[in-house]
């Protein structure tokens, strides 16, 4: 059965997007890419620390992977647009994950700034994947602005208490025509399976893999969970619910 994940007019076999942050050593990234079978990986752009230069991250990323640079660090749409253009000009391709965060306490994405950045970058030919709160109107606006997918957070970042935004994500899945990729807040493979069962198109997992004592094994666990959730969604869940019977029949009048 072919069930490809289509985003930005590209087709992928894997519905697991991985991140490249927070690993105990960068060389783990290539092993994680392999065990997760992930085909899309996020990375960030930073000013170099001139006193302490490091090796390029690209050396650890398999060549055939789709790079998804993010705009982390951006606090306004102008900054996000700037980072996106630099990433493209430096050879990272035209995919961009927009991430505009203006508060340090909850790390919430700013939807209004994100819409502005998406409008501009989509017009410039970027494949734009914005990170958002699972808000219906923000999602609709991004769809109209030309986003290639939306990436709602599963839970506030770092909460690791399961999918707290479940109902909101399910509304997005129901109403948005572009792919919905659940990002942030997925702590366990079972969380990923849950959102995939609900009909999410893919998941982006970074911390939950990177912070596991065995990231390579955990990456594989997520791959299996996401595949399993996807298959359950395609198969259709079988709900069994008890139906109460009214004491006096509601349709009795038809037989009088």
């Amino acid at each position: 059965m072919s069930d490809l994940f289509v985003v930005g007019e590209k087709k992928f076999n894997s519905r697991l997007l991985t991140g490249s942050g927070k690993y105990s050593r960068d060389s783990l990234i290539s092993e994680v890419c392999e065990s997760s079978k992930s085909e899309i990986i996020t990375l960030a752009l930073r000013r170099i620390d001139l006193n302490n230069p490091v090796k390029s991250l690209l050396d650890y990323i398999p060549k055939n992977m789709q790079l998804l640079p993010n705009t982390s660090g951006a606090r306004t749409w102008e900054e996000a647009v700037k980072i996106a253009r630099i990433a493209r000009d430096s050879g990272c391709g035209n995919w961009i994950k927009i991430e505009i965060i203006r508060d340090n306490k909850y790390l919430m994405p700013d939807g209004l700034e994100t819409i502005k950045a998406t409008e501009i970058l989509a017009k410039e030919g970027f494949i734009v994947l914005p990170y958002i709160n699972g808000d219906y109107y923000i999602g609709k606006s991004l769809e109209n602005a030309g986003a290639a997918a939306v990436m709602p957070l599963g839970s506030p970042i770092g909460s690791n208490r399961g999918i707290k935004c479940k109902e909101l994500i399910s509304i997005l899945i129901e109403t948005i025509k572009i792919p919905v990729i659940v990002d942030a807040g997925i702590g366990k493979p079972s969380d990923a399976a849950l959102v995939m069962e609900m009909g999410a198109d893919a998941c982006l997992i970074n911390s939950a893999i990177a912070s596991s004592p065995d990231p390579v094994l955990m990456a594989n666990a997520f791959a299996l969970a996401i595949e399993s959730g996807r298959k359950a969604y395609l198969a259709g869940l079988g709900h069994v619910k008890d139906l109460a019977q009214a004491s006096s029949p509601l349709t009795g009048f038809l037989y009088e």
Binding site: T175, G238, H239, L243, A244, Q245, L250, T251, L254
Partner: protein, 367 residues
């Protein structure tokens, strides 16, 4: 621009009869276990295989309606401005060639009629005219609405299909709801029963609710005249129409109405009989399909049937309706169809209260 016309054409090749006939009881059982049902599930519930599950469906439909609407029913009444008509709709009493008494209300008569209706306690009014752009031009409808705004809190229109600019203007004047029935969604049947006149254009009428929604109308009420063609297929497509508006125009509330074809004066066609059981099934299946949609049931139906269907999913009812022009003050033109439920607003009110429903006269009033 996508449109419902294009959306509906995706279903052109679908074999409805085969699908409906091949449903099994197991199919129906499985559908009733689902939390949300899709288009094909809904169609399956309209098949004869669901007959054995009507009570179970009714329980579910009733509880969804209670959850979404509570124990409230919106009351409104129609007001006929004119029964001049230049269309040839074979099923309709206003058919151009019917020898009936024709009339059109003057400004003064509109005020008289409005005063009488308001005295009944009615605040939601549904304005109707025959399809005649010469005798009842857009400007006439517009000016009548301006008068009516002084008497009623909410105005719905059921007039010939208008252009987007016209809908925009009426929306700005404060019209809340468009009521427009496609009559039949079967294009060739549509052309058979609409012999001439502006209404003959199937596509212009089909796309009117989209134009109204785009213009900012708060709500639309759609439906098929059940009995003109295969009622199951027509009702299914009318339901898809409400689904399409709901999904593409999130700011517009959708409602469905289930008018059954009745014998009116000059009705020259054979109708397909739709039983009380069928109409009951339609209502409860639709409620499972689109939980938040309004469902309206007109005074064409008997008071007994209306009372019985009330707890199953109905949210709107007309009351003390006259389908004549000037019916509440001085009759100037003959009726469009015969009313079955002849209860006055007061009587309906009393019945609703005795069934533990709250009659609502003002649902919406912009600040």
């Amino acid at each position: 621009m996508s449109s419902f016309y294009n959306y509906l054409s995706n279903w052109d090749k679908f074999d409805y009869i085969k699908f409906l006939q091949s449903r099994t009881e197991i199919d129906i059982k499985q559908i009733l276990e689902k939390e949300k049902i899709n288009e094909l599930d809904f169609l399956a519930l309209l098949s004869s295989k669901s007959d054995l599950f009507l009570e179970q469906m009714a329980v579910k439909s009733s509880s969804i309606t209670k959850r979404e609407f509570g124990q409230t029913i919106l009351i409104f009444t129609p007001l006929y401005l004119s029964n001049f008509c230049s269309n040839g709709c074979t099923y309709c009493g206003f058919h151009k060639k019917n020898k009936i008494k024709r009339g059109k209300l003057t400004k003064k008569e509109i005020i008289d009629e409005a005063i009488k209706i308001r005295e009944l306690g009615i605040q939601h009014i549904l304005i109707l005219t025959g399809g005649d752009r010469i005798r009842s031009p857009f400007e006439y409808i517009r000016d009548s609405i301006i008068i009516m705004k002084q008497f009623f809190k909410s105005i719905s229109i059921e007039v010939y299909a208008l252009s987007e600019e016209e809908y925009l203007e009426l929306h700005r004047l404060g019209v809340d709801n468009l009521t427009l029935y496609q009559e039949t969604y079967n294009k060739s049947r549509y052309e058979e029963v609409h012999l001439y006149g502006e209404k003959r254009s199937y596509e212009y009428r089909l796309s009117a609710p989209e134009r109204a929604a785009k213009s900012g109308f708060r709500s639309v009420t759609l439906g098929a005249l059940l009995g003109l063609d295969n009622p199951v297929i027509d009702f299914f497509k009318a339901s898809l129409h409400t689904l399409y508006i709901r999904d593409n125009f999130p700011g517009t509330e959708v409602n469905i109405s289930l008018p059954r074809l009745r014998n009116s004066m000059g009705n020259s066609i054979k109708s397909i009989e739709l039983s009380d059981k069928d109409i009951t099934k339609f209502i409860i299946a639709y409620r499972l399909f689109i939980p938040r949609s309004g469902i309206s049931l007109s005074t064409r139906e008997s008071s007994k049937l209306r009372n019985n269907l009330l707890p199953l999913g109905i949210t709107k009812m007309s009351a003390q309706s006259k389908t004549t022009v000037g019916g509440h003050s001085e009759v100037k033109g003959d009726e469009q169809f015969e009313i079955s439920d002849k209860r006055s607003v007061k009587e309906l009110h009393r019945d609703l209260v005795s069934m533990s429903f709250q009659p609502v006269y003002k649902d919406w009033d912009i600040i």
